[in-house]
Amino acid sequence: MSKVEVRKRVTIVEEIFHEGGPVAAKPLRRAAALAVIRNPFAGKYVEEIAGFMDDLKPLGLEMAKSLVAALGGQAKTIEGYGKGAIVGSAGELEHAALWHVPGGYAMREILGDAKAIVASTKKVGAPGTRLDVPVTHINASYVRSHFDSLEVGINDAPRADELLLALVMTTGPRVHARVGGLRASEIKGEDGLR
């Protein structure tokens, strides 16, 4: 078995037509790819953990590709992204941080030259713990219409010696976005912020 032992993969896709206002001409779609893996560092303090980031890269790519597929197969339709992790109770928060590089760069690679930092969150929790994965525009973090989040979780994960890893992508702004701020049409796309 490879260094990354996947117990379970979960995909969630939401298609949002309205939220009490006008029905969207093109529904907003949001998807999450989740993986439950064994935490190789559970139950003890391990100083050197950074090498595991390389081991996670293939899984990150698999999850990023599966998200694009779940949202229709066209990378150019993806406008928002985010990532997160839940560490089982025998692990430490730092183990969730191992997901930043393989998770974030996998999405940027699949989406071409996505410029914005990938918004993220993390926690230690029990099976069934919910995680609100933050979402921002892939090229400019300040695009206000694309500030969003997707709640994810799996009732039987993470067990104590597991990590639950999450990637999220969306196809557009909140369904009734109307609070101003930088618009997607105004992105300069130089610094990943505006």
């Binding site: 996947v6 117990r7 379970k8 979960v10 995909t11 896709v13 298609e15 949002i16 037509f17 709640e151």
Partner: protein, 194 residues
């Protein structure tokens, strides 16, 4: 479409290992859910025909989405189940109207067969309430390896005047079935039971 759909959600779970045992091929199950307006919220209405008709159209739509999410043809499905959660301004009987009179026929049409009762559950609850969808073999309810359940939830549904309705479909039973009983290779498929 009669139903006023706010949102459609699909969930796919794939289990690759369990207690250190490789599951090959992985067990897979999907649930497709709709968040709809409850036309009878907030008052007592004797005749629930409108919801039974909505149940009929959602039976087809959600089953098609579930098998599409699994990437299988209808006849390849092995087990199924259905469930609904009524928002706080509705009554449990509204879930019954959606699920029981007419939803099953289009489910069976999409899946090609389905001699067995479609196991079901229902409840009233608030936003994010978990729904445990019971699962049973579609052609023979006594197939013990396929007694199962799938938990889903949608963080922003059902609102008070909404109903969350879901259909789950699998291409397999539990990951490591070993408690005996009728096996799927012993199905006669005549009475829906054995």
């Amino acid at each position: 479409m009669k139903a006023k759909v706010r949102k459609l959600i699909t969930f796919v779970e794939e289990t690759r290992t369990e207690m250190g045992q490789a599951i090959d091929p992985p067990t897979r199950r999907a649930a497709a859910a709709a968040v709809i307006e409850n036309p009878f919220a907030g008052r007592y209405i004797e005749d629930l025909t409108e919801l039974t008709e909505i149940g009929e159209e959602l039976g087809a739509l959600l089953t098609e989405r579930a098998i599409a999410a699994l990437g299988i043809a209808g006849p390849a499905a092995e087990s199924y189940g259905k469930a609904a959660a009524v928002g706080e301004n509705g009554e449990l009987e509204h879930a019954a109207a959606l699920l029981h009179p007419k939803l099953g026929t289009p489910v069976r049409k999409v899946l090609g067969k389905g001699a067995a009762l479609i196991p079901s559950s229902k409840k009233r609850g608030g936003l994010g309430v978990p729904l445990d969808i019971p699962l049973g073999h579609k052609d023979a309810a006594f197939v013990r390896s396929h007694f199962d359940g799938m938990e889903i939830r949608v963080s922003d549904a059902p609102r008070a005047n909404e109903i969350l309705v879901a259909i789950a479909v699998t291409d397999s039973g539990r990951p490591l079935p070993r408690v005996g009983g009728l096996r799927k290779d012993q199905i006669k498929g005549e009475d829906g039971l054995r």
